[in-house]
Every structure is written in structure tokens, then in C-alpha cells.
């Protein structure tokens, strides 16, 4: 069952990602990118990460998708579309090289699993992740409280930066 879901989601994801790169119509590319984000959320569910799947749908498919579509509508040039630049062939070669390197390393590595976990938070497979993610984030010994606060400052800085950048100066 998980296997079938994995292969269907993989086909959907790779197909829509290729279409994002190859389509000339930017608006359709953005819609297919949102489809790709939904497929990634499904992949998270096959990996027992239900909280992350919900966050993926909310942030990527919802917020970033809407933001991208707004930006396309504010800037799009209908007759030009989304052409390739003159580095098309070298870029294809470089990305194929990167793909071959990663796949070679993944295939030739023997992935051992550790029998005893460190002090990081673990959870049984058949439960919902939300409580355990909260524990992993805010645990007083192995938690990520300071990075969490820094991330909130980063979001505030990005918010103010975006407002300053698009403000009309006249």
C-alpha cells in the first residue's frame, strides 16, 4: 500500500517538476508547482511525518503558492513567457552530473541503521507526530529553543525587508 502510494506520488512529483521547468506559460508552471508541493506532502505522509505534511500544505501550497501567483500577475510578460537562456546545454550537463554523483553515492553507500538512538527524541511509528515534534523542538536538554527564537526574528526581518523593498518612495 505504501509502495503503491510512493510510486504514484513520485510520478506525479517528477512529472509536474519537469513541467515547471519546461513550460513556457509561467502561470501554468506555478499551478503545476503547487501540484508538486501537494505530492511532496503525500511523500511526507508515507514517511510518517503527518505534522510536516500539514505544514507543507499550509506554507508551501498555500502561502508560497499564492505569493508566487501574485508576483507572476504583477510582473508577467505574456508574449515572452519563460524562455531558456543561452546556458541551456551546460546547465543540463551540470545537473545531470550532480544527479549521477548523488545517485552513485546513494547506491554505493551501505545505509546502516543505529540500534541505540542518542538523546534525541524518538517516537513509535504508528503514532501522530505532533506531540513528539513539540517535544523535539522544546525539550530543555536536546531541544531547539534558541534556533526557534532566531527563526522568529528572521521572519520579522524578512517581513520588514519585503515591505521596505516594495514601498513606493514617491
Amino acid at each position: 500500500m505504501i509502495e503503491l502510494a510512493f510510486w504514484i506520488l513520485t510520478l506525479l512529483m517528477i512529472g509536474s517538476a519537469v513541467a515547471v521547468v519546461l513550460l513556457r506559460d509561467i502561470f501554468r508552471a506555478a499551478l503545476l508547482l503547487i501540484l508538486c508541493f501537494f505530492a511532496v506532502a503525500g511523500i511526507y505522509i508515507t514517511l510518517n511525518a503527518d505534522f510536516l505534511a500539514a505544514v507543507q500544505v499550509l506554507i508551501y501550497a498555500g502561502a508560497i503558492g499564492i505569493l508566487l501567483i501574485f508576483a507572476i500577475m504583477l510582473t508577467r510578460n505574456l508574449k515572452e513567457g519563460s524562455p531558456f537562456n543561452k546556458l541551456n546545454v551546460p546547465a543540463l550537463l551540470i545537473s545531470l552530473l550532480v544527479l549521477a554523483t548523488i545517485v552513485g553515492v546513494v547506491v554505493s553507500t551501505e545505509w546502516t541503521t543505529v540500534t541505540e538512538a542518542s538523546n534525541a527524541v524518538t517516537m513509535p511509528i504508528d503514532e501522530s507526530t505532533t506531540t513528539y515534534v513539540a517535544k523535539a523542538l522544546f525539550d530543555s536538554e536536546s531541544g531547539f529553543v534558541l534556533p526557534f527564537e532566531i527563526a522568529s526574528v528572521l521572519l520579522l526581518a524578512a517581513l520588514i525587508g519585503a515591505i521596505v523593498l516594495v514601498r513606493d518612495r514617491r
Binding site: 509502495e3 517528477i14 521547468v21 511532496v40 511525518a49 505569493l67 550532480v98 517516537m123 523542538l137
Partner: protein
């Protein structure tokens, strides 16, 4: 066919390469930003797969926490990146990265 960590890592590598190709070969700045989002998603898939398969029979959650931080940074990056693109569009009336060469030496 059993699906293991290699399948997820190779899927992540394929998605990353598609995003890399698009980010290098496209001329429209919005499409380049979309391809960067694809690459960030590929990295997230790899992290969540490690988090699931590192310890047998349990999920170790550090990878998922890292994925949450990457999503935060990606949201900030998308907001600032699109604001920069809109500012460029205001001053030059297009978003072609080959024509945005004001700082070229």
C-alpha cells in the same frame, strides 16, 4: 517492491537536479525562484527520510525539526525574493535576469 531509504534519497536527488537545471537555465526571475523552491523541497524530503529510517522501528525527530526550520527560511526567502523581483520590475519593466546587469563589471 520494498521502498527503503535509497528510494527516497534518489527521488530527492532527481527533484534537486530538476530544480538545479531550471535555476541555471531559465531567464525569468520568478521561474528561477520557483526552481529554488523545488530544490529546497528535495532537501526536505532527504531530511525526513533520514529521520524515518535512521533508527529501525522508531522515528527519530531531529530531521523533521530541521525540515521545519528549512520551511521557515524558505518562506522568508520567497517573500524577500519576490519583493526584490517586483522592485526590479518597477524600475526596468521586465524580470529577465540577463538584462538585470547593473552591477556587472
Amino acid at each position: 517492491m520494498h521502498v527503503g531509504i535509497e528510494h527516497y534519497l534518489i527521488l530527492s536527488a532527481v527533484l534537486f537536479s530538476i530544480g538545479l537545471y531550471g535555476a541555471l537555465a531559465k531567464r525569468n526571475a520568478v521561474v528561477i525562484l520557483m526552481c529554488i523552491e523545488l530544490m529546497l523541497n528535495a532537501v526536505n524530503i532527504a531530511l525526513v527520510a533520514f529521520s524515518r529510517y535512521l533508527v529501525p522501528d522508531v522515528v527519530q525527530l531531529t530531521g523533521q525539526v530541521f525540515a521545519i526550520f528549512i520551511m521557515t527560511v524558505a518562506a522568508a526567502e520567497a517573500a524577500v525574493g519576490l519583493a526584490i523581483i517586483i522592485a526590479i520590475y518597477r524600475s526596468r519593466k521586465n524580470v529577465d535576469v540577463e538584462q538585470a546587469d547593473l552591477m556587472k563589471g
